[in-house]
């Protein structure tokens, strides 16, 4: 009995184990697909905004701006939702990271396009939201976790009044690198608040002070 039962156990355990791995790969793929859909929706919204922007010349500015301001708000909500989903996925146990790495690059590129669009809308239509770009690295950055905590809190408190674009510099994306270089960033964490660069960790009080200098009617001012 002894030898036979050990062989049977090995076969059955291996089957359960392989089924588990297949399930893990499938569920991972499903979740990445869901993230892809959300990224795609964000991308569509960005493209819609870009098209609306192009229509500025033919539409009356006040009409076009109404649409564009509402689109900017939609873009903010979508990118926040996507950022939460991406964070949840990153923190979960997974077997294969390959498809997610590709997706994260797409997501980051879309985020940059999103930022460019909302900046343009703000300029032309005088949108009353503030933008923060957060450059971070998961390697050798002692203060990035702290900065992330502070920015999450600011987003939770100020909601649509502030749009935060967190860019992972470890991805090696040319767009992120060129943006980083254009702001002269060489250390992390670094923040670009309303197009002004801060190459150090900023506390909650410091960020609130900066934001209030641009928009004094914020709840934190």
């Amino acid at each position: 009995m002894e030898k036979g039962i050990f062989i049977k156990t090995t076969i059955i355990t291996s089957i359960i184990f392989i089924l588990g791995i297949i399930f893990g790969l499938w569920i991972g793929q499903e979740r990445v697909s869901a993230l892809e859909q959300t990224t795609s929706a964000l991308k569509d919204s960005v493209e819609t905004a870009e098209l609306q922007f192009a229509l500025l010349d033919v539409l009356k500015p006040e009409v076009a701006c109404n649409y564009l301001i509402s689109t900017a708000s939609d873009l903010g909500n979508k990118s926040d939702e996507l950022a939460s989903e991406v964070e949840r996925y990153e923190n979960s146990q997974k077997i294969d990271d390959t498809s997610f790495s590709t997706l994260k690059k797409q997501y980051t590129t879309t985020l940059i396009r999103d930022w460019v669009t909302v900046e343009k809308i703000k300029k032309v239509c005088e949108g009353d939201y503030l933008t923060i770009i957060y450059f971070y690295s998961n390697k050798d950055c002692d203060k990035c976790e702290d900065q992330g905590i502070v920015l999450t809190y600011i987003k939770d408190v100020l909601k649509e009044n502030v749009m935060i674009f967190a860019l992972d510099t470890d991805l090696g994306l040319t767009t992120v690198n060129s943006l980083r270089d254009s702001f002269g960033i060489d250390s992390y964490p670094s923040l670009v608040i309303e197009n002004k660069m801060y190459s150090e960790y900023l506390s909650l009080e410091e960020i609130n002070k900066i934001l209030c200098s641009y928009k004094s009617d914020l709840s934190v001012c």
């Binding site: 009995m1 002894e2 039962i5 050990f6 049977k8 156990t9 090995t10 059955i12 355990t13 359960i16 184990f17 089924l19 588990g20 791995i21 399930f23 893990g24 790969l25 569920i27 991972g28 979740r31 939460s84 949840r88 996925y89 979960s92 146990q93 997974k94 077997i95 294969d96 990271d97 976790e145 702290d146 905590i149 502070v150 809190y153 939770d156 408190v157 506390s203 909650l204």
Partner: protein
């Protein structure tokens, strides 16, 4: 796949393997688990109750009463006092006079010395040891003796149940003992039992005498004898119907002390019988049970360590958040709700499978032990077992390894 995921999957494979193995053994031997061989003749059984000064009067009387009340045609009851005497010795003398029991005495300390002293005098073809804090159910010997009539079987172990469950610690042990009835029965089918427990187990007198009796220097003489029996080529059987109840520690400190003795004793015996490890000559005991038990220690520490790491890291993050941003109830509640967000991962499948196998194993254990699930009365038993037992096991092993480290550093042995 990163290193952490690889280790987690390795741990899961190991857990699955062990759980599936026992379940498969049960499924292939389901009919035999509750039936014991019918004895051809019921030879005299000597019941040896080793007693020392720490045993309580009422428990000694209870053990003797249960031995005398056994449903078995021919027995002799021997009280074997070991070590210094106290007032309870008089009780034993009275029992000798009034209750037809024999009383032996040895100044040597230790249960093994007590059993060896009696072993020299027992008349029975078989003998059964009964710890003074335990008692037999009426048919215990009848269930075990049929196994001893089989050639090559040197010992038969009982089905131990925990008596009483006042404290949470005892409730946990109640479930643990019930679960052990299932594990021991399956281990007996695999011929990999590595302990012949003190409460109620039976031995063939001639074989135990031939192999030199019990090791008086060993921390866990009941494990040592199990290894030696199998080293000499004999087998150990188990009856899941031979119920013997035993008192269990009520307080955590006493339980830790007991388990440190057991676990250190296990490691000492693995060291003493290292020739068993991965040796096909010793079958499942050498090829699976001993290596798996050692691996389990690593798995236990890894799992509990990971749990505490996550808890501490979560607390660290919360404290950091509080220090950096202050406390905001709305945001705090939002984070709590976010943390409850369920998302299936590769772990979902394995947790579900292990949960189903675990629940099945507990149900089989209850069936084997003639106990009802009785969630209304026993919910605290099960809840405490599921939630606390893994942490207790980690505590026992951590204490045991600390004890071993101290023993090496100070070169001294603890008195038990």
């Amino acid at each position: 796949m990163n290193l952490d995921t690889t280790v987690v999957l390795g741990v899961i494979f190991f857990m699955l393997y062990s759980s599936v193995l026992f379940l498969l053994v049960f499924l292939s031997k389901a009919k035999e688990t509750k039936s014991d061989p019918t004895p051809k003749k019921m030879s005299l059984v000597s019941i040896v109750i080793p007693i020392y000064k720490g045993d309580k009067k009422e428990l000694i009387t209870r053990a003797v009463d249960s031995a005398l009340a056994l449903d078995y045609p021919e027995t002799e009851v021997i009280l074997s006092w070991n070590g210094p005497k106290n007032e309870n010795y008089e009780l034993c003398e009275q029992l000798e006079k009034k209750r037809n029991v024999k009383l032996f005495y040895t100044p040597k300390k230790g249960k093994a010395a007590g059993i060896n002293n009696a072993l020299a005098e027992v008349r029975g073809e078989y003998f059964s040891c009964l710890d003074a804090d335990s008692f037999y159910h009426k048919n215990a010997l009848k269930c075990m003796v049929g196994y001893l009539e089989q050639p090559n079987v040197a010992a038969a172990t009982s089905a131990m149940k925990a008596h009483g469950s006042k404290s949470i610690i005892q409730k946990i042990q109640w479930v643990e003992y019930i679960f052990a009835i299932y594990l021991r029965k399956m281990m007996s089918f695999l011929n990999c039992l590595y302990v012949v427990p003190g409460p109620g187990s039976m031995y063939k007198t001639e074989i135990i005498r031939k192999i030199g009796g019990f090791d008086e220097e060993n921390l866990t003489e009941d494990m040592e004898i199990a290894f030696r029996i199998q080293k000499e080529g004999y087998k150990i059987a188990n009856s899941a119907n031979a119920y013997v109840e035993t008192d269990t520690p009520e307080k955590l400190a006493d339980l830790v002390k007991q388990r440190v003795r057991w676990f250190v004793g296990f490691l000492d015996n693995v060291k003493k019988y290292k020739m068993f490890v991965l040796n096909p000559r010793y079958g499942s005991l050498g090829m699976y049970m001993i290596p798996a038990s050692i691996v389990w220690i690593g798995v236990l520490f890894y799992t509990i360590g990971k749990f505490f790491y996550n808890v501490i890291d979560g607390m660290r993050f919360s404290i950091k958040t509080f220090l950096l941003t202050g406390f905001n109830l709305d945001i705090f509640l939002k984070h709590i709700i976010d943390s409850l967000y369920f998302q299936p991962t590769v772990m979902t499948w394995f947790v579900a499978v292990l949960f189903i196998i675990g629940v099945s194993a507990i149900l089989i254990s209850l069936w084997l032990s003639n106990e009802k699930v009785d969630l209304r009365k026993k919910y605290a038993h099960y809840a405490a077992f599921l939630l606390v037992y893994p942490f207790l096991m980690a505590l026992f092993w951590a204490s045991s390894l600390t004890y071993i480290a101290m023993r090496i550093i100070t070169n001294t042995k603890m008195e038990w």
